[in-house]
């Protein structure tokens, strides 16, 4: 009964949040909508990272690399070859999947710290390539990237991108939710060494651990790629800077802050990070402005110490505290 109530409460809460999100553009201004778009875009990549790190237990310190690949593939195809941005999302996702498959095959035999270093090195290589290659226009970047369009209708307003991002994010969240409740999701958890899993036992119950790890890596990469593609066509100009190693850590931070063992957690983490970033940016002229990295570094450390399972854990922590108080009384 308690479970049923909790389930119903969760569903009602989720429905309420969805209604608010759908109606938000009615009263929110340009600035809020734009912030929400970035929350959604980074939320996609963070969601992918949660599948890889939170569920399958594989560390990736350069998840934004796949955002970069998706963004540049889609943008270059649109700018240089006149290919539709919609097709660009698909091409970006396919190219990212191929690269992630090859890299995953090569590095996912590694574990823990060494795997983290390998993924960071890979991120640095791809970032440097984006800075140096002619096709990406180096550090000057690509400009005049076209918007998405449906026939003659061009998605060139904030509100268009808001709903596009909302729909894609909801779809990705549903897909992720289905996946983690399936044998593949259970397989991810079974091999997760950080959460009571065992690769040896997983293999002995018939799971092809190597293949499953690569699947998690590819899936995570494709989520990032989709986010990257939308980012490119929304901003209409693209430089490598938003995809450097710091932003890889930011995505990890988003997952950790929100809770990487949940579907909603990484999206909450993305919202918290982007909202805080905007607050700090708005105080640029005051003392806070220059300490953005420091504040986030500190915040990240505090979350790791006091709330390692993220904000999604907060309701159960409060309930626990409340029930302890009741028992004491």
């Amino acid at each position: 009964m308690k479970k049923l109530l909790t389930g119903n409460l969760k569903s009602a809460l989720l429905a309420a949040v969805l209604v608010v999100l759908v109606l938000l553009p009615m009263w929110a201004g340009h600035y809020i909508i734009s912030t929400c778009i970035f929350i959604g875009i980074y939320g996609m990549a963070a969601l992918g990272l949660s599948v890889l790190m939170g569920y399958a237990g594989q560390v990736n310190l350069g998840p934004n690399t796949f955002m970069l690949i998706g963004a540049y593939t889609s943008a270059v195809l649109a700018v240089d070859f006149g290919i539709s941005p919609w097709a660009g999302i698909v091409c970006g996702a396919i190219l990212t999947a191929i690269i992630a498959y090859l890299i995953g095959k090569a590095i996912l035999g590694l574990h823990g710290f060494i795997l983290a270093v390998a993924t960071a090195c890979f991120a640095v290589v791809i970032f440097r390539l984006a800075c140096e290659l002619e096709i990406t226009r180096g550090v000057y970047g690509l400009t005049s990237i076209p918007h998405y369009s449906i026939g003659s209708f061009v998605l060139n307003k904030e509100i268009h991108y808001y709903y596009l991002v909302l729909v894609v994010l909801i779809l990705l969240a549903i897909i992720t939710s289905n996946l983690i409740k399936s044998r593949i999701g259970r397989g991810f958890i079974a091999l997760n060494l950080f959460h009571g899993g065992s690769e040896v036992a997983s293999e002995c119950v018939g799971i092809n651990v190597g293949k499953l790890k690569v699947q998690a890596f590819v899936l995570s990469a494709v989520y990032g790629s989709i986010g990257g593609s939308i980012y490119a066509h929304y901003t209409t100009c693209l430089t490598p800077q938003p995809f450097d190693l710091w932003w890889g850590l930011v995505l990890t931070m988003m997952c950790t802050i929100g809770g990487m063992r949940s579907v909603i957690g990484p999206i909450i983490g993305s919202a918290v990070y982007i909202a805080l970033k905007e607050i700090i940016r708005s105080t640029q002229s005051t003392t806070l402005g220059g300490f953005e990295t420091l504040i986030f570094g500190l915040l990240f450390t505090l979350f790791l110490i006091f709330m390692p399972r993220g904000i999604v854990e907060l309701p159960s922590l409060i309930l626990q505290r409340f029930s302890m108080k009741t028992v004491k009384k």
Binding site: I175, R183, N192, G196, A201, C204, N208, V209
Partner: protein, 256 residues
């Protein structure tokens, strides 16, 4: 020799495993017939678990060969060996602690899946059917161990005896024809060992060939058809429990 392999069920020839300079197993040769209940005994460090690890390819052979129903096992990955119908438990259980009891069993129905990742992501009909079947199979196995009421419990909340049974149930969920049990009675009380013996005999009656490692001699005596004794990685005796308990080498090395 190939003819002999055709007739044999599980056969190991000169199975050898070295860890650096240490010989964990030295040229152990064994044969297991279909439907047998074989026990492996020996002092700690004699190579019993290493032998199970060799059969299930948890670690690679240094030398020798292992054949199952005429096909090579050596060189295959553990998940491929599971798909051939060989499943195992672990001395340290290795239950997936972040999955509930029923999920531990459902994840072990892996080899019988048919829905592809796309069907799973979109939760299409075949994916839902696969889930229902895995759940039903898991519950059926759990009811054998009277654990069906604890299906949604987390393994760490269960007493040790029940976690042991979850380990066996998880191995059974892979639908094995050869089951390897690594010290199933370890840490159990006398009553619990009797219950375990009944479970093992029941599984054997269902046609599952069983190899188990054990130190509890009353259990070995009660249920095993044949016993292999290892000492310092070498096979020192083989036969019925009555035969090996009279073997002088076994008495001095192990039974004391």
């Amino acid at each position: 020799m190939p003819e002999q392999r055709k007739n044999s069920y599980l056969e190991g020839k000169n199975v050898t495993k070295h860890f650096g300079g240490v010989a964990a197993l030295s040229e152990v040769t064994f044969n297991v017939s279909k439907g047998e209940l074989l026990c492996i005994i020996g002092p700690n460090g004699s190579g019993k678990t290493t032998l199970l690890n060799m059969i299930t390819s948890v670690s690679a052979l240094t030398g020798g060969e292992i054949w199952f129903k005429g096909g090579k096992l050596h060189g295959l990955a553990s998940h491929q060996i599971c798909k051939l119908g060989i499943s195992r438990t672990f001395q340290d259980l290795q239950i997936f602690n972040d999955l509930s009891v029923i999920e531990n069993l459902m994840v072990s129905c892996w080899k019988e899946h048919y829905a592809n990742p796309l069907e799973i992501m979109l939760r299409l009909r075949r994916a839902r059917k696969e889930e229902r079947e895995a759940y039903a199979r898991g519950m059926e196995i759990l009811s054998m161990f009277e654990l069906d009421k604890k299906a949604s419990s987390m393994p760490l909340s269960l007493p040790f005896r029940e976690r042991k049974f979850v380990g066996i149930a998880r191995a059974l969920a892979t639908n094995p024809e050869l089951l390897l049990l690594d010290e199933p009675a370890g840490g159990l009380s006398v009553e619990e060992v009797k219950e375990l013996s009944r479970v093992i005999l029941k599984l054997h009656e269902q046609g599952i060939t069983i190899i188990f490692i054990e130190h509890r001699m009353e259990m070995v005596n009660e249920i095993s058809h044949r016993v292999i004794v290892l000492n310092y990685g070498r096979k020192i005796a083989e036969g019925s429990f009555d035969e090996i308990k009279r073997n002088q080498e076994v008495i001095s090395a192990y039974l004391g």
